[in-house]
């Protein structure tokens, strides 16, 4: 066997063994919770056995001996000689850790490192003895991996290690077969679980089928999937990026060439490229479950060490993210979870005293919203102690007493992200991993995300992370300033404001020379992009005064970026800048536009810092708004506020809105009895919001449409798959973080109502509305239906 072949075998072994160990972690914990799960013990047994068999074959004696002892222990449990207890689970988990450690060594050096496993082996041996079993529960606190080994005689390991290699040969053959069947008669249930306990002691055959099916599943999965090197996927991704650009360039040439074949071919190229792009993007998408499933283990170990009880719940674990982002948020997420268990959740006694269940609850939530992924980590602990934070920040000189006095609760909460305010000082081995909250924040911002904390005293703390779906291709708003195009990542974009005529002159006011704009009563600091980039200032052409303000959010501060022109939103392929330009913080990278020219991508945080927006003390309007939100529940959704033709205020969850558009009224066309508009090369059916809520099939076409006297139509575009629909509203009012609760059912298609910005607002569930009227708008109606309506 050549050296490379051997390397390959070892690499494959390491990957597979690691995978098995990851599953082992989850299965052990599932088993601990519910010892009667049919076949689970057998699966656990098989995992350990597989690893043991493989390392016996390749010749990793140490790994094999550890696996062997663990297997012995498991077989005792399986044969009902001993009961599965938390110390056993802890020891088995510790075994998995040790095996991982050895595997890391093997991966790096190709051979086993000199890891000391004697203590672990001794523990595993001791636990095999039922006498030790009964003694075990009396041990003080069930303890994290390391201390378990402490009270063990040192003589034991030697004999075990020596004995280990002996049964190796028969084991791979003998063990798998019986492991399935006997496993079914799992130890008598220490904790009766209703359905299983009721069926206590049924014949083995009754429970055998599920265990077989659970065995069949993984193999069929491995048949239909294969491992691909991430580097290869990255390369494919880059090539697809190139293809997209080449396609864009071809499409620009199409109109100039009068050859029907060419235009048909390029259309095909267009479609195939789009599909290919989404396909390749998908290969890189992974469910967030991949990192979440490691967290219950972290929580288990940590809560044992802290003497706490914490239950982990997950919502939306299927939410998909790009692999690079998954990797980037792994550590920050783990840190936040540890933080919640360590600092958030109280000890059982304190919880009971506070009239809460003894067991704390840690909720992980993930969902898509507006092209981003939201991740929330919340606990139901005692919340952040604002006084303590404030005092600590004062102590360390991070803020002045005067500043502290002016700070809102929200500002104080966000102080935990300051570098000097590491919580690590409080508890050493738990949080002091060198990853402070400031590092969490930096890491999340590095991938274009934002993190925020909300805490309510006595009720709990919620960390909210918003991150982009992918880093390679991002939606961006293209703007023009000084004759050049710049891309603004959509993740920072809040809204666009356009001031025309006299407004352009009057509405921008100066505070000590700093321009501000009153956006719905709150002062919005303005940054002129041409000044920030030190470009030549062209005098605006007389008579045609327009100010375009791109309202952005950077680092929890809002500001308006004034640009010459707002072009369009586009999916852009992010390309890095050369090393020698990395020093310019105003740019996050560059991209290639459809015409082949390069455009720079603005780094919003960099621009804000450059223009001193971030270092300024918070603007009051914003904090007031935040304070209002804090009084309510933690549960929030971002809502779009609109005003309908008949003057009703409606709130639509932003996650269901694809885009907001304005069309000149003259562009509206008729198709049968409905109004449509040409939009992005397709026909977009339009319906008035009021008609939609009233359940009417289509809008009455209002000739002239001058009811509002407005020459522009405001449209909320709803998109679902390939279909889309535009809803006409009178006015788009605002985008707010809506505090849910206190809503009453209301008639007329709305899902309820709530008080938003001190006014009663109807809540619209677009998805439900669309489902109700499915087929009426979203696809071309049959001709007869159209005729009928025209007749009526």
């Amino acid at each position: 066997m050549s050296a490379t072949e051997e390397d390959e075998i070892i690499t494959e072994f390491v990957v597979e063994a690691n995978e098995n160990l990851d599953f082992l972690d989850q299965e052990l914990m599932a088993l601990e919770k519910n010892p009667n799960t049919p076949g689970l013990l057998a699966t656990v047994f098989r995992r350990v056995h597989t690893v043991k068999g493989a390392c016996g074959f390749i010749g990793f004696a140490k790994l094999e001996s550890v696996a062997h002892v663990a297997e012995n222990l498991l077989s005792k449990v399986r044969d009902e000689e001993i009961e599965l207890s938390p110390p056993i689970v802890t020891a088995l988990l510790a075994t998995a850790d040790t095996m991982r450690e050895i595997l890391t060594g093997i991966e790096a050096e190709g051979k086993e490192r000199d890891t000391d496993c004697s203590a672990l082996i001794a523990t595993l041996n001791r636990l095999q003895n039922p006498a030790a079993q009964t003694a075990a529960p009396q041990e003080p606190v069930p303890v994290a991996p390391a201390p378990v080994a402490a009270p063990v005689p040192v003589i034991a390991p030697a004999s075990v290690v020596a004995a280990a290699p002996v049964p190796v040969v028969p084991a791979p053959v003998a063990a798998p077969a019986p492991s399935v069947a006997p496993a079914v008669k799992v130890a008598p249930p220490p904790v009766p679980v209703p359905p299983v306990a009721a069926a206590k002691g049924p014949p083995a055959a009754d429970r055998a089928p599920p265990s077989e099916s659970s065995e069949a599943r993984p193999s069929s999965l491995s048949d239909s999937t294969l491992r691909v090197d991430v580097a290869l996927l990255d390369k494919l991704m880059n090539l697809v990026g190139e293809l997209v650009l080449a396609r864009n360039q071809v499409l620009q040439v199409v109109p100039t060439i009068a050859d029907p074949n060419f235009s048909a071919t390029s259309q095909r190229l267009n479609l195939i490229t789009t599909e290919l792009q989404s396909g390749v993007m998908k290969t890189r998408m992974q469910p967030i479950r991949n990192i979440w499933e490691k967290l219950p283990r972290v929580v288990r170990d940590l809560s044992l060490t802290c003497g706490k009880q914490v239950r982990v719940e997950m919502e939306g674990s299927e939410t998909e993210l790009d692999k690079t982002i998954i990797e980037a948020i792994k550590d920050p997420l783990t840190h936040l979870v540890r933080n919640c268990v360590d600092h958030g959740v109280e000890r059982p006694a304190d919880r009971v005293a506070a009239e809460k269940p003894a067991e704390g609850r840690l909720l992980l939530r993930a969902f898509h919203e507006g092209g981003q992924v939201n991740i929330e980590i919340s606990d139901d602990g005692h919340g952040i102690n604002l006084e303590a934070i404030k005092n600590k920040a004062l102590d360390k000189g991070l803020i002045t007493a005067e500043q502290a006095g002016r700070m809102t609760d929200r500002d104080l909460q966000n102080l935990i992200f300051l570098p000097g305010l590491s919580t690590a000082a409080k508890i050493s081995n738990v949080s002091g991993r060198g990853v402070g909250m400031d590092v969490v924040k930096t890491n999340i911002e590095k991938i274009g995300g934002v993190v925020d904390v909300q805490s309510r005293p006595g009720l709990g703390t919620t960390f909210r992370i918003k991150i982009p779906l992918t880093l390679a291709i991002i939606p961006a708003l293209v703007v023009t300033t000084g004759g050049d195009r710049y891309a603004v990542p959509q993740i920072s974009l809040l809204e666009l404001v356009r001031l025309q005529g006299t407004h352009a002159r009057d509405r921008i006011e100066l505070i000590q020379g700093a321009p501000v704009y009153r956006l719905r009563g709150n002062l919005l600091p303005l940054v002129y992009l041409n000044r920030a980039l030190q470009l030549q200032e062209d005098a605006p052409p007389a008579g045609e005064e327009t100010v375009n303000i791109v309202v952005l959010q950077a680092d929890n501060r809002r500001f308006g970026l004034v640009v010459d022109q707002v072009n369009d939103t586009e999916e852009i392929v992010v390309k890095p800048l050369g090393q020698h330009l990395k020093g310019i913080t105003a740019f996050a990278g560059a991209t290639i536009m459809g015409d082949g020219r390069v455009a720079l991508i603005l780094d919003i945080v960099g621009i804000a810092q450059h223009a001193n927006v971030i270092t300024q003390h918070h603007d009051r309007g914003l904090s007031q708004q935040n304070r209002a939100q804090e009084e309510g529940s933690v549960e929030r959704r971002t809502m779009l506020l609109v005003l309908t033709r008949d003057g009703r205020r409606m709130a639509i969850p932003l996650s269901t809105v694809a885009r907001l558009e304005e069309f000149p009224r003259k562009d509206l066309e008729r198709l049968g009895d409905r109004q449509v508009v040409q939009y992005r090369g397709r026909i977009l059916p339009l319906i008035d919001m009021v008609d939609l809520l009233d359940g009417k099939g289509a809008s009455i076409v209002r000739d002239g449409g001058d009811t509002s006297g407005d020459q522009t139509v405001h449209v909320v575009v709803y998109g679902h798959g390939q279909r889309s629909l535009g809803m006409m509203v009178d006015k788009i009012l605002d985008i707010v973080d809506h505090v849910s609760g206190a809503s009453v059912e209301s008639a007329g298609g709305a899902a309820g109502s709530a008080v938003i910005q001190q006014k009663v607002t109807e809540l619209v569930d677009l998805d439900a509305l669309m489902r109700r009227s499915e087929g009426t708008f979203l696809q071309p109606a049959p001709a007869s239906a159209v005729d009928a309506r025209i007749g009526a």
């Binding site: 980039l533 090393q579 390069v598």
Partner: protein
Amino acid sequence: MADEHQQFCTFSVDSYTFAVEVRKVQEVLRFQQMTRVPLAPGVVRGLINLRGQIVTAIDLRRRLGLADAPAGTLPMNVILRTDQGAVSLLVDKIGDVREVSRDLFEPPPDTLRDLARDAIRGVYKLPDRLLIVLDAEGIIASTAMRAPTPAPTRVEAKAGRSGAGADGMDSKVNGRALA
């Protein structure tokens, strides 16, 4: 470097003839559309799209402290392979690939201006003219890139005889700062 002869890609800027080792040159392109980079040092003229790759274009005139080209003239691109990826040098005109004997090499004179010093490796004394050899890595050296105007700081002059050391550079250090 054992060869007696080396191949150089030559090009002209202003009245000078410059050369870069052939293996350092990826390709030569006519004028390309550029996107300027605000806030960047003056030597960075912009970014070009090289078949989907974004490449920084460096104005060799500015890099060497020469006067800007007359308005309206379009520079050519010499794409260099460097440790920091591809970089484009904007030059006036592309010349031939020339093979020159190492015997003709001489390190740069001490009187060279600071700004040019990192960028210039030495000179080949051809019968009809001087061929100034540029150092691809030196051109994009970060200190030079960040300080577009000559800074009269400490100068490490490289002086010595040809033939000594890999590139004929001796380590005799002159602490002379020259205007």
